[in-house]
């Protein structure tokens, strides 16, 4: 058990490209930390630097208080689960699980005990003598996790472990990883580009963009108070609606601007708005927006109605419970609570708080 501490970690490739530009982050002992961001944001590079698979160009990485910058991956007391599983194809499942322990000269009885236990936890006991090629994707993923578990490491590292699974299996495995981590209480660092996966798994969520941390915190804290326009649009689906205050159709919202003279952009999440249909009234703490419907997406339990603000303004999505019968071209009014708006500096993208 150990905390992972990154301080001012940098990665510069030989060609001069700076993939990670000074990341400082502390993952407390036993926490599940998820790094999320678009592809190319440096999240995998960061993970691989913690693993020891990439050299560290600057800053320090500590695992359990020990600086590991110059240690081989095997000496860092970590275990990793790869996207394509990376199981040894010529070894049986049992041999795959045993390999790392044998290389560490773990006593035979101890190896047997740990393999038994991992097999029990992951329910892969009946596959122990098969080769990876004879297993399904989900089973291989379990074996890959088993290989990490038997090591009883100070930290688990996950590199997009669910991306190769189909949608349904991904949901099951996600829950399973979460349960497993709660049970073992092993510090975990998990990389994904899927914000839903990130939200559901993380104790600590870290949003990365262009080699820097945009925001770190609990998933709900980030969801409720995104620190920047980038985070606001990256976390949450469908994305937060944005209205530049100097843009078309924004005049009714001018009063909502925050302090300061900078140009501002307002944001509001689709689920915080409602359509004024069938004579529903407007409350005092709401503001009304005129939308011309451009599309309707029916998900099943709910629908998302998108419409242009004041004909020429930005597109705004509104969540509607149940099935919406609106047709494109229709005019509709939407109400939004004043308190649900987020304010951002349009230039820097940073969040503005009301005084």
């Amino acid at each position: 058990m150990a905390a992972i501490e990154l301080s001012e970690v940098r990665k510069v490739y030989a060609g001069g490209v700076e993939a990670v530009k000074g990341v400082s982050l502390t993952i407390p002992d036993g926490a599940f930390c998820v790094l999320v961001g678009p592809s190319g944001c440096g999240k995998s590079t960061l993970l691989r630097m913690v693993a020891g698979l990439e050299s560290i160009s600057g800053g320090t990485v500590r695992i359990g208080g020990r600086v590991v910058n110059d240690l081989e991956p095997a000496s860092r007391d970590i275990a990793m689960v790869f996207q394509n599983y990376a199981l040894y194809p010529h070894m049986t499942v049992r041999q795959n699980l045993e390999y790392g322990l044998k290389n560490r000269r773990t006593p035979k009885e101890e190896i047997a005990r740990r393999v038994e236990e991992a097999a029990r936890i992951l329910e892969i006991g009946q596959y122990l003598d098969r080769r990876p090629g004879q297993l399904s994707g989900g089973q291989r993923q379990r074996v890959a996790m088993g290989r990490a578990i038997v090591r009883e490491p100070a930290a688990f590292l996950f590199d997009e472990p669910l991306s190769n699974l189909d949608a349904k299996l991904r949901v099951t495995m996600r829950a399973e990883i979460r349960r497993l981590q709660r049970r073992l209480k092993t510090t975990s660092l998990y990389v994904t580009h899927d914000q839903l996966e990130a939200m559901t798994l993380a104790d600590q969520l870290v949003v990365l963009n262009a080699g820097r941390i945009e925001q770190a915190g609990s998933p709900m804290a980030i969801y409720e108070k995104p620190a920047s326009l980038f985070v606001a649009t990256f976390i949450g689906s469908p994305a937060m609606n944005l209205v530049p205050l100097d843009g078309p159709g924004a005049s009714p919202l001018a009063t909502l601007a925050g302090p300061g003279k900078a140009k501002q952009t307002l944001g509001i999440r689709p689920e915080h708005m409602r359509l004024l249909e069938g004579g529903a009234g407007v409350r005092a703490d709401e503001i009304v927006l005129d939308l011309s419907v451009s599309g309707v997406e029916v998900v099943g339990a709910e629908s998302y109605v998108t419409g242009r603000l004041a004909n020429s303004g930005p597109e705004i999505a509104v969540r509607v419970p149940g099935y919406s019968h609106l047709e494109p071209g229709a005019s509709v009014k939407a109400a939004a609570p004043l308190g649900a708006f987020h304010r951002f500096d349009a230039e820097s993208g940073r969040r503005l708080e009301l005084a």
Partner: protein, 282 residues
Amino acid sequence: MIERDRGGRIFAHLLLILGVLIVAFPIYYTFIASTQTIQTILRPPLPLTPGGEFAENYGQALFGGVGRIGGVDVGTLLFNTSVMALGIALGKIAISLLSAFAIVFFRFPFRMFFFWMIFVTLMLPVEVRILPTYKVMVDLGLIDTYAGLILPLVASATATLLFRQFFMTIPPELVEAARIDGAGPMKFFRDILIPLSRTNIAALFVILFIYGWTQYLWPLLVTNDNRMNTIVIALKKMVSFADADTPWNLVMVTAILAIVPPVLVVVLMQRWFVRGLVESEK
């Protein structure tokens, strides 16, 4: 096939049988001759079925020694040829595995320089540089040694290129997983890379064994001592049409014995051999 073309199929079978007969006949002919007395051989036409001298001829050739090639028995020749063929096959596989491993799984200065240095040797068979290579052998004192028979033929790029190509298909995550599992490069090489390359190694072994066994020019040059001859060279030395006392029955036995081991290797390891051949030339 598209039509249930019975006539065509029968014709195809006939064609194949004819092909097999032509392909196999010279070997059969020689085998027949190897079971006859020298008198029968010298009085054509040769009978179409084996004669009664099988045990006598083969026994004498294998263990008795053949006068024309300095009294060396064919057993010794087979041993020499086996050493040469195995040495070339195993030596080439070993050094190629190592160098391909270095080129694919490490990053170091002059990596591509070494790659090209090896690659260029692909273009120059030993036949085109015989004389200077021979001089090198003399200078190094390798005439009439097994090392002299083997080493110059071990330097070739084909096997290295083949392994390089195969290694590049191995997912990089496998290397990373192994590093996290505490396997250093040599452990990875032994525990993961070699087992994964088994099929390629088997295929290459067959091709290189044949290559080594069928060498002619090189063993001709580097062996002066009859005791160091390979079977192919000795066979050539035994044959003389000008000479009345060529032991034709023993010549035929030697020819058959020169053919059988490599044919066995090819036929028994056919599956790997065919795959390896067609792949290595791509």
